[in-house]
Amino acid sequence: MQLPGIFRQRKYQIAFALIVFVVLLVFWKPTVLIYGVQRAGLYASIAIPMALVLGVVGILNIAHGDFMMIGAYLAYWLSVLYGSDPLVAMIPVFVAMFVAGALTYKITIKHVLDAPEFSQLLLTFGLAMILEQLANLLWTSQPRKLHVDYASSSVTIGSLSFGVFEFTNVAIAILILIALMLFLKRTRMGQAALAAGQNPRGAKLVGINVEQAYLLLFSISIAIVSAIGGLFLARHSIFPLVGSSYTMRSFALIAMAGIGNLPGILFCSLGLGVAESFIMSFKGYSGWADIVFFALILLVIIIRSIRRY
């Protein structure tokens, strides 16, 4: 018996398998999908700005997660000192960190754009250390957490209760993606930035201010990830080292999706989030979830190397 024509194509076979898997999960372990999607939202919202900088400016920003940490602290102090809600605090944090991002670019990043990748890595690694130690000096390593009622809001369907606040991560991630895609594809500055990323020399020749484009993109990236800190604060404890693990996760997602593939990050986040949740749904296997990230980096590098050669 032969398969219908449509299912002879690999992509439809994969899609069908995925649908079957999802349906199985819904009946067997529904929390895997719920928590997987929620984790994916947070990972994607942090990774997308990093992918923007890496894909266009070509800079590996090791301090990416640490900027999120700084944004979280700013949102924390706005809440403590002025009673601001952490989600509302995302707006002033975005503005303040846009300026901080611009200053960071002017003082540090722009001087290593033409340097070897290792020099860029060292620079941003040093930046990460400075941010972490600064936070430690100013606020100590003591974790801080804001209690907001809505962070533990939940829904009960039958015997299943689950939190709903973290679906805001998903909404925010989609919003960031749409906003960035519109900016890059539909605005002159965005199109200029894309052009500068593809061919800086050619872009200069046609009159595009490459320097300004890089500055703008870097500042936007820092502003977005810092603002995400406010969202992060509503749900998590913050301390000086909280951001570094998310830098690594963002690397893994960019590795999977491919440099410059912003929409791909959303789908890869979903895959990673669900994979993590699936492993963690088995008692005693929570510790294996971390292996997923590193195993995927290795797998992608190996597969891409094999394909190239």
Partner: protein
């Protein structure tokens, strides 16, 4: 575009390097095979005789005390505060042997190299007469060889790992440990639960689900608990990645705990886990009869959250002790007068006590000579603000051990109330853990 393969290769190398650079603050995993018997808590007098202060001669050379703490952590800051408060009190009362006390604080920066270097510097440059050390176990392990080299009388108010005890050995007469070793802490907790289940016969404590952070600290705690509680309750558990180590998602472990429906849920992690784990428990509507937390320290504002109501904690200090002990109240009031707010962490009281113990020991000895001071310290009976009567006796390995009796406390109305030991109790147990509705 740049060469992608070299970028990915460097990312992989860097991720391995950064993973290796993450500070390890947890305890090692080795579990001792024998456990000393449980001791009964001792009665605590509530008043301490006061002395008439005398003036210190201005030309007198100070007695120097080296205090090593982790200033990057709230525990270290509290320890420093306790030491400086003790210095002020001792000097106001006339100093030690007619000489002023000078506390020299050094930060170990929570790294072994800096911790060892602090010892070296305090001995060779500052010529300190004694030490009070409040370093984490990993840092203290690096300090031990340097401490052994000089043999300066030392009181250690941190380092709970029994591996530190093994490293110090049986011959270190100059070493005094003013903190429970890891295996002692569980004994105290078990004694407390036995007493509580006896007092409240209707409450059920037959099964415990323990969620423990996957590092050495949590794993060792789970292993100890399995040994200690095997005759009292069925213990099952699962690890989670602590927020302090880049985790913070407890959904899986909470779902498993909810499915098992144990009489008690205990989490062993760090302060960063305290509120998030409660929020996620609320989100899945999981309210076990006992909700117990066992981090080394709690966030200072934990009690402010309505979710903290009914959470049980193991503590050595609680502000509520000021209601039942004049010694605790005097310490607390002095601390507030000097710093504007109460201590956030028990180490303020512990380091404070250690400085006073050394001062009193020096007075009894009448000299700073090591052998005489050691003999004098062996006679210590110090009433601490934690309501312990501090005495030193041999532990499994070392000669001078003063264990701390962990209290079982519960957050009630935003305050940490003591439930056990009975002579320190400030409130009755709230049982079962309140429902999440309305919180």
């Amino acid at each position: 575009m740049k060469n992608n393969q070299s970028i990915w290769a460097m990312m992989l190398i860097l991720s391995i390097l950064i993973t290796g650079c993450v500070k390890a603050t947890a305890e090692p995993t080795q579990v001792p095979t024998s456990v000393p018997p449980v001791e009964e808590p001792t009665k605590v007098p509530t008043k301490v005789p006061t002395e008439v202060p005398t003036a210190i001669p201005t030309e007198a050379e100070p007695i120097k005390l080296g205090v090593i703490v982790s200033l990057g952590d709230i525990s270290g800051i509290n320890g420093q505060n306790g030491a400086l408060l003790a210095q002020e009190e001792i000097n106001a009362a006339g100093g030690i042997l007619g000489r002023p006390l000078e506390v020299i604080v050094m930060d170990d920066e929570m790294t072994p190299e800096k911790g060892a270097a602090a010892v070296e510097k305090l001995v060779t440059v500052d010529n300190v007469d004694a030490f009070v050390i409040n370093s984490f176990s990993g840092v203290h392990m690096a300090q031990i060889p340097t401490l052994k080299k000089y043999g300066t009388v030392t009181i250690v108010t941190g380092a709970a790992s029994h591996l530190c005890e093994e490293a110090i050995g049986t011959d270190a007469d100059w070493y005094f440990h003013l903190h429970s070793w890891d295996y002692m802490q569980g004994q105290g907790q078990k004694a407390g639960w036995l007493a509580i289940t006896e007092k409240y016969p209707d409450l059920e404590f037959g099964s415990v689900f323990m969620a423990y952070e996957e590092g050495a600290f949590g794993t060792a705690s789970f292993q100890f608990s399995q040994v200690l509680f095997e005759d009292m309750a069925t213990l099952s558990g699962e690890s989670f990645k602590s927020a302090a180590m880049g985790g913070g998602d407890y959904s899986a472990v909470l779902e498993h705990a909810k499915a098992e429906n144990a009489d008690s849920f205990t989490w062993v992690g760090y302060a960063a886990d305290a509120l998030p784990i409660l929020e996620q428990a609320k989100a899945i509507n999981y309210a076990p009869p006992f909700f117990v937390g066992a981090p080394p320290g709690w966030p200072p504002d934990f009690g402010d959250s309505p979710l903290s109501e009914g959470v049980i904690a193991y503590e050595v200090w609680a502000d509520a002790l000021t209601e039942v002990s004049d010694v605790s109240k005097d310490f607390y009031d002095s601390y507030v007068d000097l710093y504007g707010s109460g201590p956030d962490n028990y180490l303020a009281a512990l380091v404070y006590s250690a400085v006073h113990i050394l001062a009193e020991g020096m007075e009894r000895a009448g000299t700073l000579e090591a052998d005489a001071l050691i003999t004098a310290l062996e006679e210590t009976e110090y009433v601490a603000p934690t309501m312990e009567v501090i005495t030193f006796s041999p532990s499994m390995i070392i000669k001078h051990q003063a264990p701390l009796t962990p209290m079982i406390a519960q957050y009630q109305g935003g305050e940490l109330e003591v439930l056990y030991p009975w002579d320190r109790a400030t409130s009755e147990l709230i049982y079962p853990f309140p429902s999440w509705e309305g919180r």
